[in-house]
C-alpha cells in the first residue's frame, strides 16, 4: 500500500499563485513536519498558475537547512510542474545546496569598491 502523502500546494495556501514568502513558509512548515517523522510525500503543484523563485526558495530550498540531501531525495517528490517550472525548481535546489554548504561564503568573498563621493 502506498502511504505517500500528497500536499496540494494550491489548496494549502488557498491560491493558485505561489509568489509570496509567507505562503512558501506555510508549505515549508508542512513539509518539514512530515519529513521529521520520516513520511514520504509528494508536493503537488496542480492548479498553480504562477510560481516564482522567491516562493520556492522558502518552500523547498529551505529544506536543505533542516535535512540531508539524501533524506530529501528519498522522501520528496514533486508533480504538476511544467518543464520550465521544473527547471526553475532545479535552479532553486542547486542554489540551496550551495547556500547551506557555505551560507556566508558569498559575503566573506566580497571585496566591492567603495566610493567616498556618495553620502
Amino acid at each position: 500500500m502506498d502511504d505517500r502523502i500528497t500536499i496540494k500546494v494550491a489548496d494549502l495556501i488557498g491560491s493558485p499563485l505561489c509568489i509570496s514568502a509567507e505562503d512558501g513558509q506555510k508549505v515549508f512548515e508542512k513539509v518539514e513536519s512530515l519529513l521529521k517523522s520520516g513520511k514520504p510525500l509528494t508536493i503537488s503543484f496542480d492548479r498553480v498558475t504562477m510560481l516564482i523563485s522567491l516562493f520556492l526558495n522558502v518552500a523547498i530550498g529551505q529544506l536543505y537547512g533542516s535535512f540531508r540531501e539524501e533524506e530529501v531525495r528519498s522522501l520528496v517528490q514533486v508533480n504538476g510542474l511544467s518543464g520550465d517550472d521544473m527547471e526553475l525548481l532545479k535552479r532553486v535546489v542547486d542554489n540551496a545546496k550551495k547556500y547551506y554548504a557555505n551560507p556566508k561564503g558569498y559575503d566573506a568573498a566580497w571585496h566591492g569598491e567603495e566610493d567616498e563621493d556618495e553620502q
Binding site: 509568489i19 566580497w110 566610493d115
Partner: protein, 290 residues
C-alpha cells in the same frame, strides 16, 4: 518653484533627468513645485513610474506638484496610461491598446499586481506573444515586484506601468519604489558602510547573494531575469541611488549617475516577437531535482 522636465526616455539620460528633478526639490516641504514640460520633446510612458518616485517624496513632505506646457502629443500618451490622473487630470481611452496603465500598489499587494498583469496582458494593452514568452515575462515582473515588497521599505508603495512600442516590437515595463535603495540594503547586510551604489548593484546581481533575512537561500530572481533577457534579446535596467545598470545582448555595464535617484527602478524591455521556448533542458523528472 518651477523646474524644467527635459526629454525622458528609458536610458541613462532619462533616469539622470528624473534624479536631477528629485535633487533640486530634495529639501522642499509645504511648498509648491511646477514642472515645465515645454522642453520635453518625448516622454516614454513607462518612465512615469520612476518619475512618480519624485512626486511621492514631494507629496510626503506635503508639497503641491503640478505640470504645465505639456504638448498635446505627450499629454495624450500620459492620459492614456492614466499617469496624469495623479495631477487630477482626466484619462483617455487607450484605443490602440498599447499601455499597461500607471498604477500605485501597496507594498504587499503581490496578488493584486498579478491580477493587474493578467488583466492587461490578455488581449489588452500588449500584443499577442507566445505563451512561453508571456509566462517568463510575468514571472520576471512578479519577481521584481516581490523584491520591491521585501527590500524597499517604501512608505509610498510600488509604482508600475508599461508601454508597447508597436513599430519596434518592444514592450517596456517599469517597476519603481521610493524606498531605501539597493545600496542601503547591501550596506546594512554586508556592514560595508561605504559601498557605492554601483558596487551594491553588482553585489545584488551576483547569484546567491541576497539581503533577505531569515534562514533560507535566495538571490536567484535577478539572475533568472538576466537569463530570460539574454535569450529574448531584450534589455534590463536597474537604477538605484547613484547606480545605473544596463544589461542587453551588447553586454552589461554599471555607471555612476550624476544625481541621486532616491529609490529603485527596474525596467524590463522585451522583444515581443520572440518565439523561444524557454525550456532549455530535456525533460526533468522529479528524481532529477533533489
Amino acid at each position: 518653484m518651477k523646474l524644467d522636465v527635459g526629454t525622458i526616455r528609458s536610458n541613462m539620460d532619462g533616469f539622470n533627468s528624473i534624479a536631477r528633478i528629485g535633487k533640486e526639490t530634495q529639501n522642499m516641504n509645504l511648498g509648491s513645485v511646477r514642472w515645465d514640460f515645454s522642453r520635453c520633446s518625448f516622454f516614454e510612458a513607462n518612465m512615469a513610474a520612476p518619475l512618480y518616485v519624485v512626486i511621492a517624496r514631494l507629496r510626503n513632505e506635503l508639497n503641491d506638484v503640478s505640470v504645465y506646457n505639456v504638448s498635446s502629443g505627450i499629454e495624450r500618451i500620459l492620459k492614456k496610461n492614466n499617469f496624469l490622473t495623479v495631477f487630477n487630470m482626466t484619462s483617455l481611452p487607450d484605443n490602440n491598446q498599447t499601455t499597461l496603465p500607471f498604477k500605485i500598489f501597496k507594498l504587499h499587494a503581490g496578488e493584486q499586481f498579478y491580477d493587474y498583469l493578467e488583466s492587461y496582458m490578455n488581449g489588452r494593452g500588449i500584443p499577442r506573444m507566445t505563451d512561453a514568452l508571456t509566462k517568463r515575462f510575468r514571472q520576471s515582473l512578479v519577481e521584481i515586484f516581490l523584491n520591491a515588497s521585501i527590500h524597499s521599505d517604501s512608505k509610498s508603495g510600488i509604482f508600475a506601468c508599461g508601454q508597447f512600442f508597436p513599430q519596434k516590437h518592444r514592450l517596456d515595463f517599469t517597476i519603481a519604489d521610493a524606498g531605501i535603495g539597493i545600496r542601503e540594503n547591501v550596506r546594512r547586510y554586508t556592514r560595508k558602510r561605504k559601498m557605492s551604489s554601483c558596487a551594491a548593484i553588482n553585489w545584488a546581481l551576483t547569484e546567491g547573494n541576497t539581503t533577505k533575512t531569515g534562514n533560507h537561500p535566495g538571490g536567484l530572481g535577478l539572475k533568472l531575469i538576466k537569463d530570460f533577457i539574454r535569450i529574448n534579446k531584450g534589455k534590463l535596467q536597474i537604477v538605484s541611488r547613484y547606480g545605473y545598470y544596463e544589461f542587453s545582448s551588447r553586454g552589461a555595464s554599471v555607471q555612476k549617475m550624476d544625481y541621486d535617484f532616491r529609490g529603485t527602478s527596474v525596467n524590463i524591455e522585451i522583444n515581443t516577437q520572440d518565439t523561444s521556448s524557454y525550456c532549455l533542458k530535456s525533460e526533468l523528472s522529479s528524481d532529477d531535482i533533489f
